[in-house]
């Protein structure tokens, strides 16, 4: 079977498992069903055949008793459903793990992805350096140019990089990912701040935000290169 088919079956196992667990988990104990029924009858005026005086009093089942009675009714199907969820989930995890380990040798996509992450960060750095140089001219007219460049950077480079974070996480491992992506996110926020400062025509803030963003993204690239 292909990895896609395996993935589909793993997901299906989880869906069936949740369905079985939730269906049998929803089953009411006889006493609770009776209490719910009486409550519904009391609320409903159309239940004319049972007048209030004919209703039995609601017998509430203590919480722990309720758990025990439910367990005696639904233990087997519920446990089976739980096994399906766990089986499907662990299988899905394994498939994801295999996919990651297989890709560098079998597919060129993943190594390309790693390169792309490097390239994306490098491109961000290049653009930010250009903006930094522009702002060094101390010409407020450049704010419009910078704002447009930041918008282009966001759409063309930052958004795709953010979208690729799951692959990056698998590639780097969670701890290293947190370092790289944390540093990148700090830079991204400063880029957003520079954009806001451009709109507010605040030259000094635009300049300092670009500088801080540049430093954060450079740090992210350095961390990524160390992987």
């Amino acid at each position: 079977m292909s990895p896609t088919q395996n993935k589909l079956i793993a997901n299906l196992l989880v869906v069936i498992g949740v369905g079985v667990c939730a269906t049998f988990g929803a089953q009411l104990t006889p006493k609770t069903l009776q209490a719910v029924t009486i409550e519904q009858v009391k609320k409903n005026q159309e239940s004319s055949r049972l007048v209030a005086s004919e209703l039995p009093s609601i017998e509430v089942e203590a919480p722990v008793e309720r758990v025990k009675t439910w367990w005696s009714l639904s233990a087997l199907p519920f446990t089976s459903g739980l096994c399906l969820i766990l089986l499907g989930s662990f299988w899905a995890r394994k498939l994801q793990h295999d996919e990651l380990n297989r890709e560098p040798s079998e597919h060129s996509d993943h190594s390309t992805q790693a390169l792309k992450a490097d390239e994306s960060l490098a491109l961000m750095i290049k653009t930010l350096r250009e903006m930094d140089a522009l702002l060094a001219q101390d010409d407020p007219k450049q704010l419009t140019v910078v704002k447009q460049a930041l918008e282009k950077l966001q759409i063309d480079t930052i958004d795709p990089f953010v979208e690729s974070r799951e692959q990056l996480k698998m590639k780097l491992g969670i701890n290293h990912f947190v370092e790289v992506f944390g540093s990148f996110s700090q830079g991204e926020r400063k880029i957003n701040r520079a954009w806001a400062a451009c709109v507010d025509q605040h030259f000094a803030e635009t300049k300092s935000s670009i500088k801080t963003a540049l430093s954060s993204i450079e740090s992210a690239l350095a961390l990524l290169s160390n992987s």
Partner: protein, 586 residues
């Protein structure tokens, strides 16, 4: 006046405006006004409203008039404070009225202390999760995106402003039509004579569609959970005969089949799916905590580094030391509230109840923040209900202590979701998280005395204040419901089996490699299907458009349009409620 470059402006440039006195004062004023109004609305209608968009719009006007160089980020601070102050009202008004209705003898000081403790705790516990939820997981927080789009609108360009306006107009038109006609949903299943246990009902809510559009494919697990609950489990449970039968309900299946199905549907939702959903939410959140531990460790490390930073630069976040001090102070407040509220409990018991309340707040805050992050829908009432139940059992059946500490839980988890949504908006416009966190931590508590004060102002014990049948028309439905639940608990009625079973399902889903899956599936069980299905429409539209137009197009077209839908419905809802209250219409 612009800030000129240094060569042209020899004086030191004015600092970029962010956490300014006027932003703080304006935020407190707007937040307090909305808080008082929304307490009244919640007592009358049973729901409260978010006020971030209103605050941002008023902020634009007032800040521009008052300051000649106001900034987008300054308005973000105003909006952060206003929504924090306003948000405290929901936590108070959903819980505290139950004590008034029960005629309980309680100290208002304990209620205020508890709610203030909840405000601080909610903010403090969610701050370390900012990096995880906003930077690493990139949760959408649709309302946060909508507010950011609004704040960015002065510089976003004519095309995006038009799209935002188009979304606003569409949502407004449909919401006005829905208000005028009294039709809040479209029952396609009913039209096609499909039985009610297989519901196909769409809510007329363009805000839900907008939230689904912003979530796109990320919202699919939530949609799948809804389909599983309502299109698979519901027909199965019905066909297995696990619901009250027509005979036991005193109805004739031949002539009253519709009524039978309606009552069975109510039983299915209230006694089965909803409590099961709450349990799944809790289990999902527990699994989320375990899965997030490495990232949380990283976040705490960075907070700790912020505390030790020796550079002159302002750190990004409130440091771990400040958060620790705030958390300990808030915990002591909570403990004091428990001691004042209870005349019978020992100090050790009060400490235990405060600790459990604190721990529950962390878990529930995580659930609410995660759910809001993906769907924009907050299971606040369910989480608060469990909080009150826990407090009730721990206090040995003392309703006063249960509700007083329940106020803290309810206010706190509301602050968690609000803080995170504001931080998302802040990230998108480049605000300093530290300034936002300081603003919310420093001033949200103001909403507590405002909300409690309004309750006391409105309350008269002779039946004219609020409560079922009150002559004022303020029926306080949430408080009344909570009172009913406490009475049920007093008789031993608690669906513990459903909570435990749900928690096991939620925990087991934590193994699957999709973050937050348990919370999303639980939320889908917890909500009526019309909400989930409407959201699904938005998700499916977004997925289709992304395939055909690409991601960049989605960012430039769908984000402002969907934000317009959310803002349009939010503002129209508030206006409609105010008109109804002013004209006395029901």
């Amino acid at each position: 006046m612009n800030d000129l470059p240094s060569s042209q402006n020899q004086a030191t440039p004015k600092p970029y405006r962010e956490l300014t006195p006027i932003a703080v004062i304006l935020g407190i004023l707007i937040g307090s006004l909305m808080n008082a109004a929304f307490v009244y609305i919640a007592l009358k209608l049973g729901f409260s409203l978010g006020g971030s968009t209103v605050a941002a719009i008023i902020g634009f006007g007032v800040l521009k008039l008052a300051v000649d160089q106001s900034s987008i980020i300054e308005n973000n601070i105003n909006q952060t404070i206003a929504s924090g102050v306003n948000n405290a009202s929901a936590g108070v008004v959903f819980t505290l009225p139950a004590l008034f209705l029960m005629g309980a003898d309680f100290s208002p000081t304990s209620a205020i202390l508890s709610a203030i403790a909840g405000t601080f705790l909610g903010i403090v516990i969610i701050i370390p999760l900012r990096k995880q939820m906003i930077e690493f997981e990139r949760l959408r927080f649709p309302s946060g995106i909508a507010v950011a789009s609004l704040l960015k609108s002065p510089g976003a360009g004519a095309k995006q402003a038009k799209l935002l306006g188009l979304g606003f107009v569409i949502a407004t038109l449909f919401h006005v039509a829905s208000e005028l006609s009294g039709i809040s949903d479209f029952n396609l299943g009913g039209l096609l004579s499909i039985p009610a246990y297989f519901p196909i009902v769409l809510g007329i809510s363009f805000a839900s569609i907008g939230a689904g559009m912003l979530a796109g494919g990320g919202g699919l697990p939530f949609v799948a959970g809804g389909i599983l609950a309502w299109w698979i489990i519901s027909p199965l449970v019905t066909s297995l005969g696990w619901l009250p039968s027509a005979e036991s309900l005193g109805l004739d299946l031949g002539t009253q089949a519709g009524k039978v199905l309606e009552l069975q549907g109510q039983a299915l939702y209230k006694a089965m799916l909803r409590p099961l959903g709450i349990g799944t939410l809790i289990g999902g959140a527990m699994a989320g905590v375990v899965a997030s531990l490495p990232a949380l460790k990283g976040a705490l490390k960075s907070l700790s580094n912020a505390a030790q930073t020796s550079s002159g630069d302002s750190p990004d976040e409130l440091d771990a030391k400040a958060l620790g001090i705030a958390a300990v102070s808030a915990f002591l407040l909570l403990f004091a509230a428990a001691v004042i509220a209870s005349s019978k409990m020992s100090l050790a018991a009060c400490a235990l109840i405060a600790v459990v309340g604190f721990v529950w707040l962390i878990l529930a805050g995580l659930v609410v923040a995660q759910a809001t992050g993906v769907t924009d829908i907050s299971p606040l009432s369910g989480m608060s209900l469990i909080g009150v139940t826990l407090m009730y059992f721990l206090s040995g059946g003392d309703s006063v202590v249960a509700i007083i500490l329940g106020v803290a839980v309810c206010v706190g988890i509301g602050q968690c979701a609000d803080m995170m949504s504001d931080l998302k908006a802040g990230h998108m416009i480049g605000a300093s998280p530290r300034s936002q966190q300081l603003a919310q931590l420093g001033f949200s508590w103001v909403g507590v005395p405002v909300a409690v004060g309004v309750l006391y102002l409105l309350w008269t014990p002779d039946g004219g204040g609020f409560g079922p049948g009150a002559t004022s028309g303020l029926s306080a439905p949430q408080g009344d419901a909570l009172q009913g639940i406490l009475l049920g608990l007093a008789s031993g009625d608690a669906p513990l089996d459903k909570y435990i079973v749900g928690a096991v399902i939620g925990l087991s889903l934590g193994v699957f490699p999709i973050s937050g899956l348990g919370v999303l599936v639980g939320l889908a069980m917890y909500l009526p299907f019309s909400v989930t299905l409407t959201y699904a429409v938005g998700s499916v539209i977004a997925i289709g458009l992304e395939k055909s137009k690409g991601r960049a197009w989605m960012g430039s077209h769908i984000v402002p349009f969907a934000a317009g839908l959310i803002i349009g419905e939010a503002l129209t809802s508030i206006t409609a409620v105010l008109i109804r209250l002013a004209t006395g219409a029901s």
